[in-house]
Assembly symmetry: C2
C-alpha cells in the first residue's frame, strides 16, 4: 500500500506503555494496549513500508508488473473452540480470506498451522479440520501448506490455529487506510457485534436469545461487489477485535481525519442490542467476523449500499457515517437521543480470546 | 511443484492411527505419528496438488507467466525459548527463510504472529523480537505483516511464534521431492544433529560440552550456491524435526526409491557425537536448523560439495549417499563397522518441542 499519505502515530496521542514488565491479557485485546505493543515494540523493530500501513494484509511487489501479492497472517486462540454459528476452524479460514479480500486482493491460497494440546480429543480435531475444509471449499481457496505442533498438557489450551494467506491485487488498484479522504462516506455490510456477543453468551452459558450467532463468513464476494459498485472505493476493513470502533479510531487517528457515525443508522440486530443492554456492552466495540466496512466517495455510497444489499451477506448494509477534515483524529457518534459522544479505543477490551 | 511422479503413501506401509482418541505428544514429533496425522486427517481434507507434494513450501501459480509464488508456514513452540546458539525468534525467522530457500525460491517477505502467555516478561518479548529483527535483517527479508494474541496464564507456555513466508520461484525451475531420481547423489551442507543436541542439553541442564550450540542459520545463500553449482539439482530439504533420517525416509518412501547413506561420510561434530553416545541418540534422527540436504545428479555432486565448502555455513559439506531404484522405499546406512542397517522413522520422537 502506498505511503504517500502522512502516517501519524496510532493512537494519535500515544500513551506510555502501561507500567508493567509483563504481558497483560489486554495486550491482545485489540484496544490501546495492543496498539501500543504493536507500535512501540514490533513496528519499530521491523520498520518497512509494507508493514507500516498496518492494513489487514501487506502488499508485496513480487513480480514487477504492477500486480502485488497480498500477504496476511492471524492466529486464532478463541475459547470455546466450538460456538454458535461456527468453530475455530471455520473462523480461521474465513478470517484470513477476509483480510485478503478487504485489501482488494483475490484470495489465492491459505496455510493452516495447528498448535495442539496433548490430550485434545481427536474427534474435536477432526471436526475443526472438517469445518476449515468446508470453509475453504466454499470460498474456493485451497489450503496449500500447513504445520502441526503438539505441546504437553497445560502448555496450550486445546487448539490454536494460525492461518496465513496470499492473494493477488491487480495493477493499479490502490486501496487502503492511506487512501481515505475527507468527504468519504462509510458503509457497513450488515449488523455489528454478532460474533462477540455470541461468544460471550456461549462462554458464560447465557441463554440470552436463541438467535445469537457468530457472523463468521467469507467476505471475498462482498469485497468484489464493493469494488465493482464503487469504482473509487478508498478502503475496506474487516472490523474484528475491538469492533467497528477500533477500525474507525485507527483510521481517524492514523489519517488525521474526523469520523462521524450516526448511531441510528448502525445496523444492530434486536438480539445483539438486547444482549448488549443486559451485559453493558456497546455493539460498536464488539467483534465481528463477517462484516465489511468501506470508505468510499460520498457519490458512490448509495450504489454501494444497493449492491451489497443484493447479496445475502449484505442484506443489512447501511451507510453509517462520513469522514471530514476536522476535528482531526476524532471519532464521534451522533447518538439516538440527539447527543454526541466521542469514541475512544478502550484501554483493554472486556473480551479476551474472542478470535 | 509437479505431481507427474507417482505419489505413494507415506510412510510406504501406512500404519493405522495408533489406538487413541486423543492427541499425543508424538503427533508433533516429526515421526510416524506426525506423518499419519498429516496423511490421514489433514491432507485428505484439503487435497490439492500444491499441498500433496508436502514439500517445504507450496508453489502457487499466482501470476500466470511461469513464475510461481512459494508459500510456507511453521509454528514454533520450542522450549526453552532461549538456548545456546539462538532463541525462538531467530529460529522462527531462519526456519521460514529456509523452507523457502530449499524450495528454490528467493525469499521475499515474512509474517510474524505471536501467541503470548499472560505474565511473560516484556523483557523476554523484547529480546525475542530483537533477535527476529536481526535474523530478518541479516537475510535481507522484511517482516511485512503480523499478529499478536494473548492467552491467560496456563493457557500457553510463555511464547509461541508462527512465521509464514513467501518467495518467488523463477519460471522453468523444477525442484522438489518429485524430481528425485535413481542415480542422484545426496549432499549435506554440514554437521548434523547440532540443534537437537543443544536443545536437549539446555533443557536438562547437561554440561556435556561447551561447544554444543544450535546450528540455526538462514540457508538462502547456500541454496543459491547449490542451484548455481548443480544446474540439474533435483531437490533440497531442510532436515528439521526427525532429523536427516525423516527427510530421507520421506523421500525414499514417497518416490519408491532406495536411499543409501555411508555413515563414515556423515559429518557429525565431536561434541554432538559424544553427547549422542552418552544420551543414546543417533545424530541421523536429531533435528537440524541450518543444514541443507540436496539430491543432485551424481556428476554434479563434487562441484556442489566444493561450492558449498567455500561458504562459511557449508564448510563441512559432504557427499553422504546415493539414490537407487531398489529396494524401493528403503533407507539403509552402511555403518562404520562395515555392516548395514535399515533406517525407519521412529514412531514418536524422543524430543518434543524441539522447534
Amino acid at each position: 500500500m502506498s505511503s504517500d499519505a502522512a502516517v501519524v502515530p496510532f493512537p494519535a496521542c500515544p500513551l506510555p506503555l502501561v507500567d508493567t514488565d509483563e504481558v497483560l491479557l489486554g495486550h491482545g485485546s485489540g484496544g490501546r494496549l495492543t496498539a501500543q505493543l504493536v507500535e512501540q515494540l514490533i513496528v519499530p523493530a521491523f520498520r518497512n513500508p509494507a508493514l507500516e500501513t498496518l492494513d489487514d494484509a501487506a502488499l508485496v511487489d513480487a513480480v514487477g508488473d504492477g500486480r502485488r501479492i497480498a500477504f496476511t497472517t492471524d492466529s486464532y486462540v478463541i475459547t470455546p473452540i466450538f460456538f454458535r454459528g461456527g468453530d475455530i476452524g471455520e473462523l480461521a479460514v474465513n478470517g484470513t480470506i477476509n483480510d485478503l479480500a478487504v485489501s482488494g486482493a483475490r484470495p489465492l491460497a491459505l496455510s493452516l498451522a495447528f498448535i495442539l494440546e496433548e490430550g485434545l480429543p481427536l474427534a474435536d480435531l477432526r471436526r475443526v479440520i472438517e469445518s476449515a475444509r468446508a470453509a475453504a471449499a466454499r470460498a474456493g481457496v485451497p489450503v496449500v501448506t500447513g504445520d502441526t505442533k503438539v505441546v504437553g498438557r497445560g502448555s496450550a489450551d486445546r487448539l490454536f490455529i494460525n492461518t496465513s494467506g496470499i492473494g493477488v491485487v491487480p495493477a493499479g488498484r490502490r486501496i487502503g487506510a492511506a487512501e481515505v479522504r475527507a468527504g468519504d462516506a462509510i458503509v457497513v455490510s450488515g449488523t455489528i457485534g454478532d460474533h462477540g456477543v455470541a461468544i460471550l453468551s456461549e462462554r458464560h452459558g447465557l441463554e440470552l436469545d436463541g438467535e445469537l450467532c457468530s457472523d463468521t463468513a467469507p467476505l471475498h464476494e462482498l469485497a468484489a461487489i464493493a469494488l465493482a459498485a464503487a469504482p473509487h472505493l478508498h478502503a475496506m476493513r474487516d472490523p474484528t477485535r475491538g469492533g467497528l470502533a477500533a477500525t474507525l479510531v485507527e483510521i481517524a487517528s492514523r489519517r488525521g481525519l474526523a469520523v462521524t457515525i450516526d448511531e441510528r443508522a448502525l445496523p444492530v440486530s434486536d438480539s445483539v442490542r438486547g444482549a448488549c443492554e443486559i451485559l453493558g456492552l456497546d455493539p460498536l466495540f464488539v467483534a465481528n467476523e463477517g462484516k465489511l466496512a468501506a470508505f468510499v466517495p460520498a457519490a458512490e455510497a448509495d450504489a454501494l449500499v444497493a449492491a451489497l444489499r443484493a447479496h445475502p451477506l449484505g442484506r443489512n448494509a447501511a451507510r453509517i457515517g462520513e469522514v471530514a477534515a476536522a476535528p482531526a483524529g476524532l471519532v464521534t457518534v451522533a447518538t439516538t437521543i440527539g447527543g454526541e459522544r466521542i469514541v475512544e479505543l478502550p484501554f483493554a477490551e472486556m473480551l479476551p480470546r474472542i478470535c
